[in-house]
Subunit: 200 residues, 2 copies
Amino acid sequence: MNKIITIGREFGSGGRELAHHLAKELGFAYYDKEIVEEIAKRTNLAQHYVQHIVEHKSAVFFPITTGRTLHTAGSDYMMRQYTEVYSQQANVLREMAEKSDCIIVGRCADYILKDMNPTRIFVYADMQAKIQRCRKNAPEHEHLSDHQMKKMIQKVDKNRAKYYRHYTGQVWGDRENYELCVNTSISPIEDIAHALSHLI
Amino acid sequence: MNKIITIGREFGSGGRELAHHLAKELGFAYYDKEIVEEIAKRTNLAQHYVQHIVEHKSAVFFPITTGRTLHTAGSDYMMRQYTEVYSQQANVLREMAEKSDCIIVGRCADYILKDMNPTRIFVYADMQAKIQRCRKNAPEHEHLSDHQMKKMIQKVDKNRAKYYRHYTGQVWGDRENYELCVNTSISPIEDIAHALSHLI
């Protein structure tokens, strides 16, 4: 069976960067954009729209979890699209994991691929470090204060936690659901990747 | 400033074993029995009694956290002893941490030594692995079923969590209070220690 690493991560903690370095260290495939491209192909939706959905940028998906019903035809249509995207995402993840050793970031991959016995990593960081990393990666026209940045980070993570809870019934970031939780404030990300590659 | 590693751990997860290997890898001092010996000397209490207290084997210490008052003279006397032992423990930890690079297991060391910027590790494991490890380390005359063993592990950890909460106001095992949380079911403990030594 292929070796699978899944990485859950707080926004701004450097989870993608860690995945990238770890994939290089281990010679594993690292899928990211390819997943969205493949979902777009299978659902006939535009890539940027698929991206919008899988990043949970809309709240449409979540009311269902609280048992409320959305009555408008528009919402019904969107709900079907969302469900189709998430269902195709699960298919794509399984197919990729069956192809070769690989690393997958986010997407509830730890849960979707649990039969393949993945090494499940959760990446987090101190708020100040997350703010700094977000500022470094922000588009040039974005001028958020530290306070605004913090609010934004908290909002993204709240949505990730909600989505994870909806899909898995588990608590996002709770150590019980991971083999390893690592605060990236501890060392440069390359060094963390190098150390983790010894463990896996 | 010396490098300090603190290790919080679930009962049966191999936290002490990891500390031992990590100390060897890094050439750090690893204090364990020495702490109890030193507290016994300073408080004029028997070592086995100090051990009993610092392992939270009695519930006397905890009602205070809920604001209840213990009225009997016997309890007052014990409370004073408990407070003295915990206060001396904090002193001993600080003195040891000032002496050299070191690793300390449990004892809220992550919180007590926070000014020294310790690398805080939390060690946990799957229940089945914890039961196996406890069985391996159990005295010969102990014949607990898996169910009894599980209950015992849960009870010890409940007390550890309570004690940690009382002393620090924080949640025991919550990733926010650690740089690294590691499930020892992932790899042999020697390998985990080796990988972590690269990080620290």
